[in-house]
Amino acid sequence: MSATRRVNLVASAVLLFSMAGATATLYAIDHLRWEPAAQEALYVRSPKVLRRLSLGYTGLLADIYWTRAVQYFGEQHHAHSHDFRLLAPLLEVTTELDPKLLPAYQFGANFLAPKPPSGAGLPGAALALMQYGIEHNPDQWRLYYNLGFLYYTELKDYPKAADAFARGAKLPVTNPFMPILAAQMAQHAGEFDTARMLWFTTYQSTQEAQIRENAVQHLLALQVDEDVTRLEQVVEKYRQQTGKLPTSMGDLEGAGFIRGTPMDPKGHPYRLMPDGRIEVRDPESIFFITKGLPPGAEPPQPPQRAQAASK
């Protein structure tokens, strides 16, 4: 074997061995460093300082900070943490660096508002973020829609939700559902119908597959909540008429209250419990339901909701 060939062989072996070794070591380093204390640091909180440090490349820096915010939320959510203290500052820095970065408002408010572990439980911060977004993007109907959504779902402030939808409805480019939502919100009538329209608007106003899937899950959950509410009212009527609780769905059908066995959206029959409550057969199969669950059970959440961006 010639000397050159020998050198080539040794160098190739060293290259492969060191590449494999470096990757394995890096993997070990990641497991050392990705402990919460090492990750949770936001050294520069001032958007003004960052703006100067960016030398004018604020768009790129905003994109980096937005990615950091998404990662941070995903990490904390994945770890079932209730501590989201860096989320609001990260979003603040992002939107001040680039006030036109619409996803940061739309998703950011959804990360901030819901109670942990689904979100940070900071509806006030979400509200401030949306208002800042509208201030800098007054012609974007989606932001008014998100603001109305926030008032409706998290803050239960129906007049303000109606106002947000109404302001969005007046824009030159808007969604046809906005005036209807504003009217429904003002009347605060038909809770299920309103929620259904909100999720339907979310579904049809985006092409993002994960958001659409999330809207579908919410629509299915609404269907279950509405079915269970209606069936429990029927059970109550039966009890008032007969003086006893029905023992099966057949009793309700025999009394003429329902036709056939009622099914949930997944095709499973609803269960009538001995105490008159209605439960779904497989609570884990339908996410976000608030009714039809066993006593004390939490509404099931889809896995990796952070990635699905929750709205």
Binding site: A3, T4, V7, N8, A11, S12, V14, L15, S18, M19, G21, A22, T23, T25, L26, Y27, A28, I29, D30, L32, R33, A41, Y43, I64, T67, R68, V70, Q71, G74, E75, A306, Q307
Partner: protein, 263 residues
């Protein structure tokens, strides 16, 4: 050729590289460093409260790192091309010096230059620290660890600069090395992004994230300034990582340089 001769040839090339760097007035950067550090220490002492130590450590170690990286890149990229331009490479290789010995010798010469430079700057950092704090504290040991990590960083940058200069022009080598330094400094964000990306794109990002040098783990400046301890295992892993990554880049440089037509 026996191993003793090989070692002496590598040592000779390394020593000459170091001597050439010194002759090129590379160590003049120490003057700028000393002025920067003493100026900052005095200025911050005048206009701020209770952050003198933080500023001296943060500014001192950042300057050590950046000055070193700039030196590593700008000397590293010229190590091969300069020898070809001046035709001194042919003289060296016409003697019983193998091409791989030339590459390895150049690498040791450049890292040696940077180690000496870092050592002198480290003395400056500790003198400035003593001036502002009037005594050394137990937590100052983490400043030494951060300096050690910076030296590890230089090993990788030198190896990369040499790797690129083995097949590219000095300008392109500088661009490639600097780009990898920037990407490597954001490596943790890149791997975090890879972890939440699904499918084929996720695997691609993961592969890139593990292939680029991880400079972020080698940056313990903020911890050192705050006096936060650095885990012993991190020191071990970082040492192994820097050695392996440098070995990878140097063996790549050797493989390319072996095939290069120098006529």
């Amino acid at each position: 050729m026996n191993s003793g001769g090989m070692n002496s040839r590598i040592g000779y090339i390394a020593f000459n590289t170091f001597r050439e760097a010194v002759r090129d007035r590379v160590l003049y950067n120490l003057i700028a460093f000393a002025l920067l550090l003493s100026g900052a220490a005095i200025l911050v002492g005048e206009i701020s409260i209770d952050i003198e130590r933080l500023v001296v450590v943060n500014l001192g170690l950042t300057a050590v790192s950046l000055f070193g990286v700039v030196i590593a890149i700008f000397i590293g990229i010229g190590l091969v091309s300069k020898e070809i331009d001046k035709r001194t490479l042919y003289t060296v290789l016409s003697r019983p010096v193998r091409r791989w010995e030339f590459v390895v010798g150049k690498f040791f010469g450049l890292t040696g230059t940077l180690v000496v430079n870092t050592f002198l700057m480290a003395i400056g950092v500790f003198v400035a620290l003593l001036c502002v704090a009037h005594k050394f504290e137990k937590m100052d040991v983490w400043v030494l660890v951060a300096l050690y990590f910076i030296v590890l960083q230089f090993l990788i940058v030198c190896a990369l600069a040499l790797f690129f200069s083995s097949f590219s022009t000095p300008l392109m080598s500088a661009v490639f090395t600097f780009a990898l330094f920037v990407i490597g400094s954001l490596a943790e964000d890149l791997r975090g992004f890879a972890r939440i990306t699904q499918g084929a794109g996720g695997w691609l990002v993961k592969a890139v994230a593990y292939l680029v040098p991880n400079f972020s783990a080698l940056n313990a400046i903020s911890q050192a300034a705050r006096g936060d301890p650095v885990p012993g295992r991190l020191i071990l892993y970082n040492s192994v990582y820097a050695l392996l990554y440098s070995a990878m880049a140097i063996s790549g440089a050797v493989l390319i340089f072996q095939r290069r037509n120098l006529k």
